[in-house]
């Protein structure tokens, strides 16, 4: 008998033997698993993003079946998915609002540079070293930490600025945790207009470093209805409980154009959306 034949035979025999042992033990020590868990997991989006706070879709399915969590805690599920799962489990699910992430900064590479940062290309590292290279101490660092954290490829890095594509964003919140500047917020998807600035400094100070900053002129506040915009110090922001309509962008004519729709913000350079 040739050596190869012996080799194949012995490995085969060992494999079959071990397989039989495992099979027998698996029968003897079989654990009953709630079949609903498997079914719920099938109905879930299987993105395993962890946006619900559990280790993955399997873990979440377990929690849902044992009633430790409700289906609508899954940020990725569409309303239809949630309805299907709730129907399967015989419970009533509440309607939930779709949330998307917004990076509250419009400062691209054009922002004045205070120092050249040569370290590890990661926002958290950049923040540790004298708060990064850009002149604005509140804006996007542009090291793509959020973009890398996004399991859905919804964040594009363009000219050193993180831009969220709403169509791809499911609102799992991974990027929100990543940003060392706390620049990213989860907001209701129905809000179309955002203020792309996060710096609370005085308008003149901001304009020195960034031409796309909110100078606190309040044009948008006047153009909007009462309560749609909020003013905190020198920074205006959208009141997401009562968001203004998309028409506000035109009505307000923001002088620095930091007030704009998310669509226009994410649109490819050169095209007018």
């Amino acid at each position: 008998m040739s050596l190869a034949l012996i080799a194949i035979l012995s490995v085969g025999v060992i494999g079959v033997l071990l397989g039989v042992i495992i099979g027998v033990v698996a029968k003897v020590f079989a654990v009953e698993i709630d079949e609903r868990i498997e079914k719920v997991e099938e109905l879930l989006p299987s993105a395993n993003c962890g946006g619900c706070g559990y280790a993955g879709c399997m873990d979440f399915a377990k929690a849902v079946v044992s009633e430790k969590a409700t289906v609508d805690q899954c940020p990725v599920c569409s309303p239809d998915d949630i309805k299907n799962i709730a129907e399967y489990l015989g419970i009533v699910a509440e309607e939930k609002e779709k949330m998307v992430a917004v990076v509250k900064c419009g400062g691209t590479h054009s922002v004045a540079v205070s120092a050249k940062y040569n370290g590890v290309a990661d926002c958290k590292s950049a923040v540790l070293v004298a708060a990064g290279g850009k002149g604005c101490a509140f804006g996007c660092l542009g090291m793509a930490s959020c973009s890398r954290a996004c399991p859905f490829d919804a964040i594009e890095m363009r000219d050193g600025l993180a831009i969220v594509h709403e169509a791809l964003c499911v609102g799992c919140g991974k990027c929100v945790e990543t940003c060392p500047r706390n620049l990213i917020d989860l907001v209701p998807a129905k809000a179309e207009v955002h203020v792309f600035c996060n710096s609370p400094e005085k308008g003149a100070e901001k304009m020195k470093v960034c031409k796309a900053s909110c100078i606190g002129c309040r044009k948008c506040v006047k153009a909007a209805e009462e309560g749609q915009m909020k003013v905190e110090g020198f920074l205006v922001s959208v009141n997401y409980d009562n968001p203004p309509p998309a028409g506000l962008v035109e009505a307000a004519a923001c002088p620095t154009q930091c007030l704009k729709t998310a669509k226009a913000h994410a649109a490819p350079v050169g095209s007018e959306a």
Binding site: L3, S10, I14, G19, I22
Partner: protein
């Protein structure tokens, strides 16, 4: 005979500790050492898998692979043996202690690829033919002692890390950084045992 066993025991646990001087099995050493409970559970699983893997692999090696001149199959067969043993542990553990099963999580199936287990088995197979380690009982004892050494390192380290959680660590050193520094110091401390056997 007895002194040979003693040498294996002391050697595997203290002098040539798998984690701290051979640098094998670093992944679970850093991954499951956040809490003492989990570390103890992991240690139990590794002791079980490593002892059994050493016994079974040594038997297969000395009664099948060596006589048939199939030594080139060692790595392949050993990995198959280890993988099935881990599968067994997983099935049994899920039935007997669901809590431990949950807390070990992904690290239990990852024992399959734990280089400490394969390393131990390969060291047994490659040991000198006249040494006690090449017999099946010697190999089993070596496997058991290596696993105990691994457990010792894991338990020591997880106790240290539990204390470190409460300590006021400089910001730049928080988390993984201080853990790696601690592991390095622990390894240096174990260097003191060299020359014991």
């Amino acid at each position: 005979m007895l002194s040979e066993f003693l040498v294996i025991t002391v050697g595997a646990i203290l002098v040539n500790n798998f984690v701290l001087s051979k640098f094998l099995g670093i992944c679970p050493f850093l991954g499951v050492s956040k809490k003492l409970d989990t570390a103890l559970g992991m240690s139990g699983a590794v002791v079980f898998v490593m002892t059994l893997a050493s016994l079974v692999s040594s038997l297969i090696n000395s009664f099948l692979l060596v006589p048939m001149k199939l030594e080139f199959l060692q790595t392949l067969v050993f990995i198959v043996v280890i993988a099935s043993l881990v599968q067994l542990v997983e099935i049994i553990l899920q039935k007997l202690s669901a809590k431990l099963y949950d807390s070990l999580g992904i690290f239990l199936p990852l024992i399959t690829t734990n280089c400490a287990v394969l390393g131990c088995v390969v060291l047994n197979a490659k040991s000198a033919p006249d040494s006690i380690q090449s017999t099946w009982y010697g190999a089993t004892i070596y496997g058991f002692c290596s696993a105990v050494g691994f457990s010792l390192a894991l338990v020591l380290f997880s106790s240290l890390r539990e204390k470190l959680d409460l300590a006021n660590v400089p910001k730049a050193f928080e988390g993984t950084a201080i853990s790696l520094v601690t592991a390095g110091i622990l390894a240096m401390a174990f260097l003191g045992f060299s020359g014991l056997v």
